[in-house]
Symmetry: C2
Subunit: 480 residues, 2 copies
C-alpha cells in the first residue's frame, strides 16, 4: 500500500499532540469517513482535541503542509457536510463538551462538542429553555448545529440556531484564535463574522465555544391533533391560523402519504374511520394564562377547518400523538429503499400551489413522495422514494428532485431550510443563487481560508449524491 | 477653485441618471457632509436613486473611476458612519421608501429608505409589532438600522435589528445585485452573507430591500417607575428581577446624575421628597393574562428592593413617566457643552463592579458622567461631559473614555452595543478585537470591495473624534 499523501504532517501532529489524540487506525478512520448521508471518503487521521488550543495547532500545521481538515461533531447531518471529501484529517470535537448554565443571565456557556439534548436538559433543570431541536437532538452537537444553522420543530415561533447565538469563540481556517461577540445581548463592535460562522458548514472557521441565549421554560403546553380532507384544505387552514396571529410553538404537518406510512407502521388509524387523512399536530406553549387564551382560539379554528381533532389530556397522551410524527419518516422505506430527503421552504401564500405541484410530480414521476414538515416556517420535508437497483426509477428521482428545486425557488422559497448544502445539495445551489452571490461567498471563503484547507470540496463543487454508493450502516438517531 | 477630483465621473453619472438625481449644489453637499456626529466632510455629489437598479449603476461607475461612495439614510447616527470621509459621492437612499405589510405571514417588505417609525405604524395598523426602536425612530431609516444593527429600549426581551431580519436584497460594493435569503423563516442555502451586511456599517454592500419579521402586537402594557438608594442597589435589584426570569419589554435605568438632569429640566422631583435617586423604569408587554401574572411578581419585587415605586394607571400617565427618560439626555448639556456618548455593554454579573468603577472615574477625571441605558441587555449609555474650550478638560475626557473602554472589555463587555464604530469608536476597536479578528474583518472587506470604494476610511483607521471640529447644527431628533 502506498503511503498516504500527508503521512509526514500526520506524524508531526502525533508528535505534537500525542498519538492518543491523533488516531490513524482503520476502524476510527472508517467511522469518520461518512456522516448520516452515508457517503464514505477515508481520512488519514482523526484528531480528538481535549483543549481548544489544540484546534489552533491542528489548523496551523494543516496550513503549513496543505492538509485538508474536516471539522466534525457527531456526524448526524444527512448532507455529507461532515465527510472528509478530500481526505486529510477529521477534526472530531466531541471531547470538548462542557456545559455551564448562567442562571441569572439566561445564557448557556457551552463547548462545540456538547450534545444539544444535554444542553436543553441542563437549561431545563434551572427553569430555562433552549428551543432549537433537530430530530437528532439526543445525539447531535451544538457545534454541528451552529455550522448548519440547525432548525427543528420549534422554528416557527422561536426561530433557529442562529436566533439563539450570542457569542462564539474558535479558530479561523489559518489557525488564529478569535472571539466574536461577548456574553451580552447587544454587540455592535466590528463586522459580524459571528453570524458568518453560523451556517458556514465548517468552511469558514472552527467553533470551539458558544454562548447561547435561553428563554424562560414555558410553564404550560397543550397538544392538539387535527385532520383534514386533503392537503390543500390543511394548508388553507394553517394560513387562517397564522393570519389570526396564533403562534403555536410547534405546528407539524403530515400529508396523506406520510400518515399512511405511520398508520401502517403503528397498525392503527389516527382518527378511527378516517384512515390516511393529512394531519396537523399543534403544540401551544407559554404561561398557563397564555396557553389558556390561545387554546380557545385554536379549538374554534379546528371546529371550523378540521374534519377531526383530538386534544391530549395528559403528557403521556401528547407523547402518543407525537409518536405519529416520529414514525412516518422511518416507515417510508416501505415505498423504496432509497430516499432523496429534501428540506425545502415555501412561503405561506404558495402552500396550496405547492401542494398541487407535488401531486403532479407524483403522477409524472410515478414515485412516492411523502411530505411532512414544519408549517409555521414553511419548511417541508419532501421525500422522494425510489429503488436504487432500478436505473429508470433513479433517473426519474433525479429529474423529480431537479423539478422540485426549480419550483420552490420559483415560488419564492429555498432549496434548504435547515439541512444546509454539504455535498448533497450542491447540484441545486445555482438555482437558488446568482453567479454574483456565489462569487461573493467564494471570495469570502478565499479571504478567510487562503490555503483552502478547511472542509474543502463542499458547497460550491457539484457532487451528484445519487451516483455515490451509500454505506450500509445504521445510526442510533435513525428514524425507525 | 480647483476642479473636484471626480468631476468627470460625476458628469458621467449625471448624464446617466439625470441631473435631478445627482445633485452637486453647495447646500445639498453641505447637508450630506455630516451626520448627527456633526463632523463634516464635503462630498462632490449627492445621488438620490428612485429605483433600486440605479444603486447598481452608481456603484459600477464608482468602481470604474475609483470614486468613494458613502451610503446614507437619514444620518441620525452619532458615530460619523454616514459621513463621506473621503469625499466622492453620498448615496442617499431616502427616496426608496416603500412599505408593505404581509398580514398573513407576519412580515414587512420594506425599502432601505423607509422610516422605522412608519414601519411600526404600518405594522401596528394590522395588529403586528416591529420591536427595534432607536430613540430617533421617527426619523431614522431601516437601511441605517440594518447597517448599524440598531438596538433600542426593547432589546432585552425582543432583541435588536438583526433578530428581525429575514431577507435582504441589494448590491455588492462592485455593483452586482444579490439577494440574501427568501421571505421564509428558515434558510440554510449557502454562506450567511445576509448577516454580514447587518452591522456592516454600509462598508460591505448596500441594502435596497428588506423583509422584516413581525410579532403579534402586545395586547397589554403596564408601566412602573421604581427608585433606589443608589446605583449599586438598583443594579442588584435588576439582577434579582432577571434571575427570577421576569422579562420586561423595557427596563430603563437612570443614575442619580441623569435623574438630577431630568428633574432640573422638568422643574419637579420624580418621587416627592426623594430628589436625585436612581430609577428603573419598567414596561411589561404581552397578552392581558401574561401582563397580569408578571405584574404581581414585579410589584412584589419592587416592594422588596425599591425605595419608591409608582405604576401608571393610564397610557397618559405612562407617557409622563417616559418623559423622565427622554428629558435626561438633552438636559445633560448643563454639565458641559461637549459629550462623549458611549453605548458600552457590561454583563449582568459585572453591574455593581461597573457602578463602582464609574464613581471612581468621576472622581479621578473631575468630570460629570451621567449614565443611563437598557438594563435588560447590559447596554449603558455613559456620557462623559466636558467643556470643549477647556484643553485640560478635553484631555481628561479623552483619558476617561480610554479608561472606560479598557474597563468594559476587561469586564467581558463591549465598546458598542448599538451605535457601531463609524469614525467615533475607531480608537477603541483594538481594545475589543485581536489583530487576528481585525485581520479577518479586513480580509472580508477586501474580498467584497476590491477597489475599496464603499464607505472608505471607517472602522479600521483610527480617527480622534475629540480633535475634530463639530458643526453647530440642530436636528429634529436631538433630545431636548
Amino acid at each position: 500500500m502506498s503511503k498516504p499523501p500527508h503521512a509526514r504532517a500526520t506524524a508531526l501532529l502525533q508528535r505534537r499532540l500525542g498519538s492518543g489524540l491523533v488516531k490513524t487506525d482503520d476502524a476510527t478512520c472508517y467511522a469518520a469517513s461518512f456522516d448520516s448521508g452515508r457517503m464514505s471518503f477515508l481520512p488519514e487521521a482523526v484528531v480528538l482535541p481535549r483543549k481548544h488550543e489544540q484546534v489552533g495547532e491542528v489548523l496551523k500545521l494543516a496550513n503549513t503542509h496543505g492538509v485538508p481538515v474536516t471539522p466534525r461533531g457527531r456526524g448526524t447531518t444527512l448532507m455529507g457536510s461532515a465527510t472528509p471529501r478530500q481526505g486529510g484529517w477529521v477534526l472530531d470535537l466531541t471531547k470538548l463538551n462542557r456545559i455551564r448554565i448562567d442562571d441569572e443571565a439566561g445564557m448557556a456557556h457551552v463547548q462545540a462538542g456538547a450534545v444539544v439534548g444535554k444542553i436543553q436538559d441542563a437549561a431545563a433543570a434551572k427553569g430555562w429553555f433552549y428551543p432549537p431541536d433537530p430530530s437528532s437532538k439526543a445525539y447531535c452537537t451544538i457545534g454541528g448545529n451552529i455550522a448548519c444553522n440547525a432548525g427543528g420543530m420549534h422554528g416557527g415561533k422561536y426561530g433557529v440556531t442562529r436566533d439563539f447565538i450570542i457569542a462564539l469563540k474558535g479558530y479561523l481556517p489559518t489557525g488564529d484564535y478569535v472571539e466574536w461577540g461577548t456574553a451580552t445581548r447587544k454587540f455592535a463592535a466590528g463586522f459580524n463574522l459571528r453570524d458568518l460562522w453560523i451556517g458556514g458548514e465548517g468552511m469558514l472557521g472552527v467553533v470551539t465555544d458558544a454562548v447561547l441565549r435561553l428563554i424562560p421554560q414555558p410553564a404550560a403546553r397543550w397538544t392538539l391533533l387535527t385532520s383534514f380532507t386533503d392537503e390543500v384544505s390543511a394548508f388553507t387552514a394553517a394560513r387562517a391560523l397564522f393570519g389570526a396571529k396564533v403562534q403555536p410553538a410547534i405546528c407539524e404537518f403530515l400529508d396523506r402519504y406520510s400518515v399512511s406510512c405511520a398508520e401502517g407502521a403503528m397498525g392503527t388509524t389516527i382518527f378511527p374511520g378516517q384512515p390516511g387523512k393529512p394531519v396537523i399536530l399543534l403544540e401551544l406553549a407559554g404561561s398557563a394564562a397564555e396557553v389558556r387564551e390561545d387554546k380557545k382560539r385554536v379549538l374554534a379554528w379546528a371546529a371550523e377547518h378540521a374534519v377531526g381533532h383530538r386534544a391530549a389530556r395528559t403528557r403521556a397522551e401528547a407523547e402518543s400523538l407525537w409518536a405519529v410524527r416520529r414514525k412516518c419518516s422511518g416507515a417510508m422505506f416501505q415505498m423504496g429503499d432509497a430516499k432523496l430527503n429534501e428540506d425545502i421552504t415555501v412561503p405561506l401564500r404558495a402552500y396550496a400551489q405547492f401542494a398541487r405541484f407535488l401531486e403532479k410530480l407524483r403522477k409524472s414521476s410515478g414515485l412516492a413522495i411523502p411530505t411532512f414538515g414544519h408549517l409555521a416556517d414553511g419548511n417541508l420535508h419532501v421525500n422522494i422514494m425510489y429503488h436504487k437497483a432500478d436505473p429508470a426509477e433513479c433517473a426519474r428521482a433525479e429529474a423529480a428532485v431537479q423539478a422540485l428545486m426549480e419550483k420552490v425557488v420559483a415560488l419564492g422559497g429555498a432549496i434548504s431550510g435547515e439541512h444546509g448544502i454539504g455535498l448533497a445539495k450542491t447540484p441545486f445551489l445555482r438555482i437558488q443563487h446568482s453567479d454574483a452571490a456565489i462569487g461573493a461567498m467564494q471570495a469570502v471563503k478565499r479571504a478567510l481560508d487562503p490555503q483552502g484547507i478547511l472542509n474543502p470540496g463542499k458547497m460550491f463543487e457539484v457532487f451528484e449524491t445519487w451516483k455515490c454508493p451509500k454505506e450500509a450502516v445504521s445510526f442510533p438517531w435513525d428514524h425507525k
